[in-house]
Structures are given as C-alpha cells and as structure tokens.
Symmetry: C3
Subunit: 471 residues, 3 copies
C-alpha cells in the first residue's frame, strides 16, 4: 500500500454513484481554470528574487508552517526539536535531516486532517514522492526532495507558472515600501499584488505600537501627532497601495465591534496613545472607530475591505515568549456580528460600490448572523471557510449553512490564506472538489438543475473571487 | 432544459436507492393529508372577501415578499425599483411589468435557496408555468400569469380548497376586532382562526406604544391606567379571541428573558410607561414579567403559548426609515434559553395542560438547550425550523440535533409562518419530503423499523401540529 | 414485525454499499476488543457484593435511570407514578408491574433516540426479549425478565465478565472510604478502579458544604481550618486513591473559569466559607483556583484530570425539592473555554506528563475552541461526546468537527459515563459502529487509506482510552 502513494482521483466525492459521476463531471469542467489567490501571506521576496529557492525539505514543509509543527507539539514534540526559531536565545535543532525524521515518525498524526491531505498532495503531485512518509523511509524521501528542490523547475517562479496562478495578493503592512512588488512589476510580474493591512497602526494595543507609528512617520515623511493627520496619512498610503496594484485592504480584530467616535474623542484617544496612556477601552473604541473610517475610505477609493475576526492570539504565553507569534497557539473565541457591525453597516452597508468581505472562526454565526447580513446588505460578502475551517467538512458546513439564506452570489469565492506557497494548489483543489461534490448533491437531490450546477461550479472556482476582489 | 421546467418527483430524497425508495413510500403515505397551518401571517381579508384577488404577478410574488426582494437588494437592486412602497414619499416603480423583468433577470440569485424552490413549485405546480424564468421569457410568463390570476379558480378561496388546508391560523393584534374572522365564520369558514398576539402592548419599547395602548382602551372600552387593569383587559381580550376560535397566543422577543415582578414593581413600571418615562431596563423587566403572566393566563384559559425569540428587527436604519418594518433587514442574535426561561418554567413548566412552543433563530441552541428543556418539562414543545432555517438543510439540522434528546413527540410539527398565501403548499411540501427522507434514513441506518417510520411520518405531517395546537 | 424484535446487524452503517461493506469490515475487526470504561457512575457495591442482583425489571430499567423517566415526564407521566423515590415524603407507586406497564405504553416515545437504541440492545441482546415492547405485551415481557434476572448468569459480576470489560472506573467522593474497592481487590477484582472527585469540597456553593467538609475532617482525621490544610488533605486523599488503583480525577463545573489566587486570597475565602459567609463570587473564584491547584497536583502525582463543564443542575426547582438531584432536569448552558482555561493552561498546559481531558455540552465549542486547544497544548485531550451528545448523530458531529483540527490522537477515546451497568455494552456498541462508519466514510471519500482506517478503528475502540487514562 505505502509503496504506491497517490491520492484518489475521486477524493472528496460522495461514494453514491450518481452523485460521484456528476461531481466528477463538474470538477473536470473547472479543474483547469487559473487559480485566483486574492488573500494570503506568501512572502513576496520568494517571487521578486528570480533566484529564490525553498531551502531544505524541513525549511519548506516544517519549520515555517504552524499548521504542521503545532500538531507534533500537541503530542509532546518540542518546537525546539523541530527547528522552530526562538527569540529568547534557546538553541534549536540545526540538523534538518533529524527534524525531517521526527516529522516523518509523527506523520500518522495528520490522518484525516486537511493538513495531511495538503501534504500528501504536495509530496506526490508537486514533488513526485511515491511512498507514504514514515520513519523508515524518511531519509530516502529527504534525499529525493533535496535533489528535486535544487532543480530550476522547482523554483518559486517556476512553480507559480506551473500552478497556473492568475493573480496572487500578498498581505502587507501599511508601512511597507512595496519594493518587492515594484521589482516584480519591473520584471512584468504584475499578477502579484499587495494588500493594505494597517492593523499594527489602528490597533492601539499592538505590541510596540510606537515603533509602528514611528515607521509610518518615516514612510510618510510626516509627523503624525494628531488623529486628523493619521487619517490623512492612511488615505495617502492606501492611494500608494492602489497605485501599486492593490485592490483590497485587510483588517483583523478579536471582535467586530464598531462605533463612530466624534472627532474630539478620536483625537483625545490618539493623544493618550501617543503619551502611552491609552487603556484597553481606548484601544477597543479606537479600533471600532477606525474600522468605520476604513469603510469610509473604501467607499471613496474603491478598495475592497476584508475583515478577519475572532482569533485570540498567542494563547500560550510561555510559548509566545520563547517563539513569538504565529506558532499554532491562536485560539478562536465566540463572535457576535449582528450588534457589533451595525454602526458600520448603517453608515456604509448600502453605499454604492462598497464591498465588505467577512471571515469568521465561529461557525455558529454562519446561519445565524452572517448569511442574513449578506442576504440583505449590498456591501456584505462572505469570505470562504477560514483557517481551522479550511477543510472538507468545514466547506460542507459553510456551504450548507450559508447558501440557503445568502445565496451563492453573496459569497467571495475561495482564498487559500497561506504562507506555504507550495500548498496553494492543494488548498484550491479541496475547495474545487468540495464545491463540485456539493453542487452534485444539490442536483441529485433535485434542488438545482445541471445548467445551474455548471454555472455555479465556474463561479465557485473562479468567477466569485474575481468579481469580489475586482481582479 | 428551460423549456420543460418541472421539479423532480424525488426532490429532497437521498440519491442512495434504498433510502430513496423508502422516502418515496413514506412521502406517498402522507402527501395527501390535509394541511394544518397553526401559525402564519396570511391577511384574513384575502379570504373574508369572496371577490378578493391576488393582483398582478408583481403584487403576488415580489412587492410584499421580503424573502424575495431582500435577495435582489443584497445584490444592488434598489427596493424602489422593485415597487416596494415607501413611507417617506420616495417614488417607486409603478410599472409592474418592469418590476417583473428585474426579478426575472435576477432569478438566478435564488439557485439552491428555499425561496427558489418555493417559487419554482408555485410557478410550475400552482400556476402552470413551463419554462424556467429568465430575462428573455419574463414578459411571456407575465402574460400567462396575468391571465391565470384573473380566473376564478385562482382566487384565494378557490386555492384554499385546492391546497387542501384543514385549518389556517392568522396572527392578530390584541386590539384587533376580528371582524374578518367574524365574516368568515358567517360564511361557514370556521377553519380560519385568529391568534392572540399582544406584543405591541406588553413590549413597552414598541414604537408608538401609547397609540397601541389607546387602541386597546377603545377596543376594551376601558381606561387602562394601571397594571392591574391591563392584566384584566388582556384576560378579557384572550377570552374574546378564544370565543372567536383562537387556540393559541403568540409572543415575540429579542431574548427569552423572564422574571416575576412584584405587583408593586409592575405597577411602578407601568406608571412610568404611561408617563413616557420607562427606560430600556423597565421595558425588559416588564416584558419578562408579562411573559410569565401570559403563561399564567394560558394555564387558566388553555390557549397554547408560542414564543418566537432572537430577531434583531430593522437592522438597517436607513432602509427602515424609508420602507418601514419587515423589509428583509431583521438579523438574528445569539439566544440564551436555559437561564432566561427558568423563572417561567419553574412557575408553570409542569402545570397540567399548559403548552409552551419555542421557536429559535439560533441553531446552536437546538441540541444544547432546547432539546434538553423539551425532553424534561411537560409544557415545552419545540416549534419547527423558523424563518431562515425553514429550508431543507435547516430541517435536517433540526431533526438531527433535536430528536435524539427530545424525541419526536416533544415537537410541534410544522407551520409555514408565511404572509405569502400561495407559497403554503410549497413550504409544507419541503417539510413533508424532508421528514420522509429523514425517517427513511433512520430506517436504512437501523435506528427505527418500518412500522415506527410510518407512524412518525403521519405525525410529522399532520398529527403533531394538530395535537400541539389543540386543532 | 414486533414478533421478531432484533437490531439490524448493519445498524449505524451508511446504506451506500461501498461504505457499508468497509464499515462492516472495520467493525468486525474491533467488535471483540475488551471494553475500556475509564469514566462512569456504576455503584461499586453492585460488584463488590458477589450476591448482588438487579432487582425487578423496573428497578433495573426505569426507577434509577433519568434518561428513561425524564422522557415520560416530559409527556405528562408523573415521576411518582414511575416509582421515582421522593425525599419530601410524597408516596410513589410501589407496584413495579404497574410502573413497567406505564413504561411499555410510552415506549414509542423513544423512537429514534439513543436511549431507545440502548434499551432495544439490552432487552434483546442481553436479556433475550424477542418482541418489541408495548402496552399489550408488557406483562409477558415482565415475567420473562423477572425470571431471567434471578438466574446467576445475570448477576452483575457474571455480566461484567460476559460484557468483556477490561477495566471499569467508578466515580467517588473525596471522602469515600473506598471500602467496596478494597473488597473487590481482595477478591482479585482489580479491574474496578476508583476515581477521585472532590467537587463537593472544592465547590463552596455545594448544598450542605459544611457537612461534606466535616466528613473530610473525619476521613482525614484532620481539622481543616485553613486553605493550606485543605490542600494538604486533598493531596493525601489523592495519594490514597492512587494507592487504591485510581488513575484519574474528575471535576465538574458550570463554567471552565480558572484563576490563580494568591495564598492570602484563598485563605480569606476559605475562612469566609467556614463562617458561612462566602458569596457567589467567592465560590466562583475559589473553584477557579482549585482547578489550577488540581492541575498542579496532577503534574505532581500523575493522576489524569477530567473536567466536565456546562450543566445547569436541577433546573426544575419543584421537582428538585421533591425528588432531589439527577432527575433529568439538568440543562446545558453556553460554555466559553478559550478565555476561561487560559490561566490553567498557561500554568500547566505544556507540563510534562500532565493530561487534561475536557468534556463539553456545548457542541458549538467543538470546532471553535476545543479542537484548536487540543491541537496545540500537549496536555489537552478531548473527551467523547457527553450525555445528551452520546448518540449516533452526536458522535458524527463530534468526529466531523473535532478531528480535522485536533487529529484523532488528541482524543481520549470513548467512555460510557453511565449509572446503568447493563447498558454499558450497548453504549460502546454505538461508538464502535459510529467510528467504523465514520472511518469507512473517510476511506470512500479518499481522505485516508485502508491501513490508516484499521489503525484508527483500533485506537477509537481501545487504544485511545487506554493511553489517555494510563490504563
């Protein structure tokens, strides 16, 4: 069995023959459409430097990927032993073959998980591995991957073309020079676009907020000493991002709280923040206000607004102190959308041309709050299942709980939201297959006809994301 | 394809042959049972006037139906352009053919939605349309519908009989004269019954509360200047409704908060309300108290108590100011039943003959709170999936999450809860099919036998609702 | 039909032939594995006394089982008429044949419920009943059961062996002498182990808390007049339980609130509690602190910590006053894990050898909070679907919502959590079948291969529970 590792060509499809046949037909009709990647966290330097490579197998698959190392950590493997870099000076494993060996010996932990499916897809379909990874064959497979990764056809730029990516949007701080995007554009790579993410500035409780503000001062060559100036600088930065190809902004918050402050209150809070005297309430109110301001700017400049809500970051303080953020210790919390978003939506939810894409980690809000909001407000679209819910079952729940109320056309299609460039096709693959299977289910249950199913499959795979993000 | 528009005779049934065959068998055994419609919002004048007609196709399908126009609004079609009447003087589209054209061009938005299924069922099975609606055939179909709607066999009373409705309960304000029900009874139409809904009086925060109270003063020929008098008048109005055929009351609230006030506190709050000085807390406490009072009255007079909880009404203030309530902008909020209902249930949850039917918009409470409450308290029954959840998937989730704990016999069967009279059979159809498919699933999975399945199918379609509402 | 009552050999398996065939194959591979029962509420005296018997059919199936009598109560049958003992002197039905008759006449209420499935399994497979129970055959079946229950092969000890139970853990108060476990060990029955449950002591709001403390004073021969002494006594009691075979502790709370108090605050609260002056906040903070203390002790002594959260006990005050606790009136409430558990997990969530098994009644936390916590913290495992969710659909939802993020190996396997000894095999049967069907689904959908499925089936049925509880 393990000697002929390959994924089923009918994976993600119902075993019931009539549904499977139709799912396969729908999938075939969309599988070769280009990939639209409107939101993600790929490092642009991977593409701006034509000579960039992925490094060792451990560099590619383990060390930077919190989806992977958190699972081993949860079963007692130390992050130090997986080479995850520390910021407190604690030494970590340097031998990448040893890191790979530990990973291989624990590969069974990913049975039945989306990460397991993505890894299998990458290893077999992108990198040509033919045996299921385990402790016994770990070094042989390492050898094979090491060889492959040095070949020019496995460079990031080569894979970008092989993956048939039509557009890939990165996520970039408000203070970013976008020099890598500039370099890409000079090479004719206009299909890599930036996204404006000002969280570090507008969230007053950001660690080292003053440093971020200072960086913004320098980038804008402005001394931002008032709220009014801040707003003006942010507008200018958005204009710069837009000129550099951005079509969207992105915003993250623990809750979707929004509230319109008076200019006087906004100035007062900002002044306290400058003096290091802003408290938690100040931060909450200011962020809630700035979300509305960001919506206002989107109405003006046409950038699509994304809002990712509900992650309690860095839950494990000890691990955070040693390893820093993004180490698999971000845990979702309950989210309340209806009351919290009302001020923003009352102000701009029906504004012409405005688009607000919502992402949740709280699936209980799909049918209760998000689908009704998207099914009413012209501005609101729903982003795809996010993070922990970017999985086959997560997609099934999302499609079943959202579309009956919101319809398909209030969805924003798919995005892979990944730092792991090589996993992009694997992630879109699950979405395209899950949608094909879902639509086939609607047909065999008599809810839609074949004509509708084909149109909807195209939109799920391609049309919705292009339209939602003006790509 | 679009030239032979018809719904699958096996819609809502699993494609798996053994389950499908049994689902079909169960469905056939119940499909001709009369419709029990114990809760809804059909205007009684539609039936009390033997000459009443439905108007144009736009009058019937679009202008009054917020399920329909909210979906077009969510995609940027103005409500004014769909003929939705305004209360601020803004002119709206008067050309019903143009309204129909816009609807037809956006009909694809309803793909895979329950509204789409109901519309298809009505257009094909009630009104004889044979082509799938689109922009190209919109006017031809309009012609056809216009002709049909003028025929006597398409009058509301004729369709009532054709639909095989055994009983239809309307929802009526506490101040209603019930003159239309009286007229119906004089014509022998005793199968149309009123339901007592006193929300506008007992919710002190109702817009124009004083006007509603004044109307109650007039109706009762009493000057309601105290809480004690209010209680007495409400008891008298309930008695009148009961005499006029009502078997139930209905109550809506944002939360199911209940609390028994002392008479002194109730009087004090009512006095403040009369003086226009009641605040939000007063309103909350008074409503919470009046729910318990309504339960007490139900114990006395035997009227079944319905409680619909969790809708945040008129979320879009701008739209509310222009168009008024019930325009598709009611968004659900989280609901907490366990703590909130305890005072009411401790007082009357085990009272002999008392029945309390609960409806939620928060599906996360099905398995967590509602099924355990219904599975313990003799008084509690669970209403069917409501509003956004009145859909095939909504029914699946409800049946799967509720019945294992509550059993089937703590459910209240189905009600269509609709203003759209012509959609009544389409809505019951989905429920009957969904139940047949669910029961067939229980049989093929070995959870129940054929004998149980047939008995349960009958109860789902007919018996439970009759029993729950004493019809 | 009712003359050949038997459960389908393929119950719980999908009707789709390829999935069913594989589910059956997987089930056959695990069905004869011994039962691991690491958490439950079986009375140890049932096993410590070799002569113990189950009593009448009503004693066995109805009177002590709140899963059963709550369903009849919810449909208007008085608990008094089912022989449920009262504590206020109200007389109850003494005629066990009459109790059985009422049960039989209402047996249809259990259609499609897990209790119905367990009862059917017990009656047919354990006790040899061959007709589906109803009012007509009630007395005949009573006769049959009465005869069978007097035979030695139906004694608890005989059934323990027939059930192939490898280990059964009871749940015991911190003050328990464990004399029955001692007697069992002297008979060589070391496979019955105690579990340390100190709730009555550490929850200051326990009814009659002073009596429980006094009992602990006596058991420990210590005068517990300070928090420091309490901690010391609890450590000694844990050591005693461990010596008597315990491998785990168990803790119940309405919320998973945890907070580390200073010693001074802990002492102050304890002093107020001794004086009868502790308020609700004191109780909450003290319990929240003691949970962290219990975690600390587990790090030290290696006992696995179980935490059952979210039941609002004794919701029906009238019934509680008459019948006492555990009468089917415990209703779940919403649970928040992410914020509440952070203090405990930051202290000990990554401590070597520590294991914390979480149980929830709020399914909305499966994918949102619990799976991400288990998928990060080395200490956290997720307990199986609990109580109302211990059902086929409950298991499906659990497996679908938890494993994609947490993986299978952060689960604690199954436990039956039952007082009803004779229902133990029936409960494990549903789990083993549900897991087999779920794994077969993963294979036919292409998510795992056959090799993985067989390994995972073994772990679901046997390996996970043994490992989680160090059994």
């Amino acid at each position: 069995m393990s000697n002929t590792w390959s994924l089923s060509p009918d994976r993600c499809f119902s075993p019931e023959p009539s549904q499977r046949a139709l799912a396969r037909e729908l999938y075939i009709s969309i599988k070769d459409l280009p990939l639209i990647c409107p939101h993600g966290h790929v490092d642009p330097t991977l593409l701006s430097d034509p000579q960039a490579q992925f490094g060792t197998p451990a560099d590619l698959f383990i060390i930077p990927d919190h989806y992977v190392f958190r699972m081993l950590y949860s079963q007692g493997v130390l992050m130090e032993d997986l080479g995850v870099p520390t910021r407190d000076g604690t030494p970590v494993e340097q031998d990448h073959r040893q890191i790979w060996q530990r990973f291989a010996e624990h590969f069974y932990l990913f049975r039945g998980t989306p990460t397991g499916m993505w890894l299998a897809d990458e290893l077999t379909n992108v990198f040509g591995v033919t045996e299921k990874l385990n402790g016994a064959n770990a070094q042989t497979i390492y050898d094979q991957l090491e060889t492959v990764l040095q070949q020019p056809e496995y460079s990031p730029r080569a894979l970008f073309k092989r993956f048939n990516i039509e557009v890939l949007c990165t996520t970039d701080a408000a203070t970013d020079t976008l020099q890598h995007h500039s370099a890409l554009q000079q090479d004719g790579w206009t299909q890599v676009r930036p996204t404006f993410r000002p969280d570090a500035i507008v969230n007053l409780s950001t660690t080292n907020w003053h440093d971020h503000l200072q960086a913004l001062n320098e980038r804008s060559q402005t001394d931002i000493t008032s709220y009014a100036t801040l707003v003006q600088v942010l507008e200018e930065r958005r204009a710069f991002f837009k000129k550099m190809g951005a079509t969207a902004t992105d915003h993250a918050a623990v809750t979707p709280y929004t509230a319109r402050l008076s200019d006087a209150e906004a100035e007062a809070i900002f002044a306290r923040a400058l003096n290091g005297q802003a408290d938690a309430t100040d931060a909450t109110r200011f962020t809630g206000h700035m979300l509305i301001e960001m919506a206002r700017m989107s109405v003006d400049d046409g950038l699509v607004m994304q809002l990712h809500v509900g992650s309690w970051r860095n839950h494990n303080t000890t691990a955070f102190n040693r390893f820093g953020p993004d180490k698999g210790a971000d845990i979702p919390v309950q989210t309340e959308w209806t009351r919290n978003l009302q001020p923003l939506l009352n102000a701009y939810g029906s504004a012409e041309g405005f688009r607000l894409i919502l992402f949740t980690l709280d699936e209980s809000t799909y049918s209760r709050e998000l689908a009704p909001l998207a099914g009413h407000y012209p501005a609101v679209l729903l982003g795809p299942p996010w993070w922990f819910h970017d999985s086959f079952n997560g997609m099934q729940r999302y499609l079943d709980q959202v579309t009956e109320t919101a319809g398909l056309y209030n969805l924003a299609g798919f995005n892979d939201d990944t730092r792991a460039f090589a996993s992009i096709p694997a992630r879109h693959e699950v979405w395209r297959r899950a949608c094909s299977n879902w639509l086939a289910g609607l047909v065999v249950m008599g809810f839609i006809d074949d004509e509708d199913a084909h149109a909807m499959a195209y939109d799920c795979a391609y049309g919705l994301a292009k339209r939602a993000y003006n790509l």
